[in-house]
Symmetry: C3
């Protein structure tokens, strides 16, 4: 059942990020997938500005390299809690008929060493999936976030 | 599968509220449905006092009119994250045999402009659903919330 | 479908704890089940130290007796929001072939009287289930938590 496949992908995606298996993260996407992290305010107004926009799996791998090898930053744990996905009508945004559209609400919590756990980022994943021989893959994931603050320090993908 | 239908309704319900499509909100209910927001303390003691009690879809529409047209309030974003629903035994509370009883735990986060995201309201939806020609509808949704504070400013439905 | 059974168990488990039906809590486990609450840092390093480790249902019942009868503590409400579970490959950790391995991310919120709701504990359930004549039961639940603080006052199971 399709929605259960989407939920399973989301759970595996969250686990990869929260367990810091960052190399696994690009593998949830197709080669030419879009990954975008955008403020809800910009999304709602149709503005292009986003906090992060990666336009291929190669760019995602480069980002992972940055996270794990080059960026100096204070460590923190993340924890994604994602609600059951909602399948969306296929015709609304998709330019390709075979894409599966879905969204899911998420909350990401952050824990820094010696500090209380905080609400870090909440929003929704607005997704397009395709079926591939290797299973369901993200052709596009837009993380539309409500949270305005804290994100100056966004290091890890949402 | 019934539980997946409930999850799908909950996801669509959350999306309508969080995307501020308030006119869509009453459409999740039957004509004579109950919508109630009640403190857990009162619910547990069997007390009738509640923060909001709307006893028909017409009252819900009136509330939506109030939210969108007449109430002056500081804007804020909401984000619902709802866990998978739990189907409940039909005989426990229902007075009608064809009602489907379920509950789901929720967290609602609030983001005000220029401020960090906060935990706004957590609790559970205690629901009765009916199957209609237009799909599953809420005959009763009671939002039993743990949170005591912040709610003096409850504007939008939970 | 197996994953839906796991989600249903998690929802019922969360409801039992949050509704303070503590006597129901050990019933989610097999007789010789393990229940452990462990910091992520210790788990990741393979260290045995944990905040709570109960090695049978009898120990869990004893803990419930402690919670409800003997421990003096300030009351608080809890609310679990658990994401859809992820089934894990059977061979990775399990020493018994008939065990079903799964994990799910959770957030537990705490509300103390007269106070705002707080993020109390976030992490993941790392679980082993078995099918029994009475349905799916936990043979092992390890609560691997990110949160370092607040837990000095952990009273109720996670």
């Amino acid at each position: 059942m399709l929605r259960l496949q989407v939920d399973a992908l989301n759970a595996a995606y969250a686990a990869a990020l929260d367990e810091r298996r960052f190399d696994d993260w690009p593998e949830f996407f197709t080669q030419d997938a879009l990954y975008q992290v955008q403020a809800r305010e910009n999304f709602d107004r149709g503005l292009p500005l986003s906090l992060m926009a990666l336009e291929s799996k190669a760019m995602m791998k480069d980002r992972v390299y940055g996270i794990t090898q080059t960026i100096y930053h204070a460590p923190y744990y993340t924890r994604h809690v994602i609600g059951p996905a909602q399948l969306l009508a296929p015709q609304l945004l998709s330019h390709e008929g075979d894409r599966i559209r879905a969204q899911a609400h998420y909350a990401v919590f952050r824990t820094r060493p010696g500090d209380a756990t905080q609400v870090y980022n909440v929003g929704r994943y607005l997704d397009e999936f395709v079926q591939t021989p290797a299973g369901l893959k993200l052709a596009s994931r837009r993380c539309i976030y409500d949270s305005e603050m804290v994100l100056n320090s966004l290091i890890y993908p949402i």
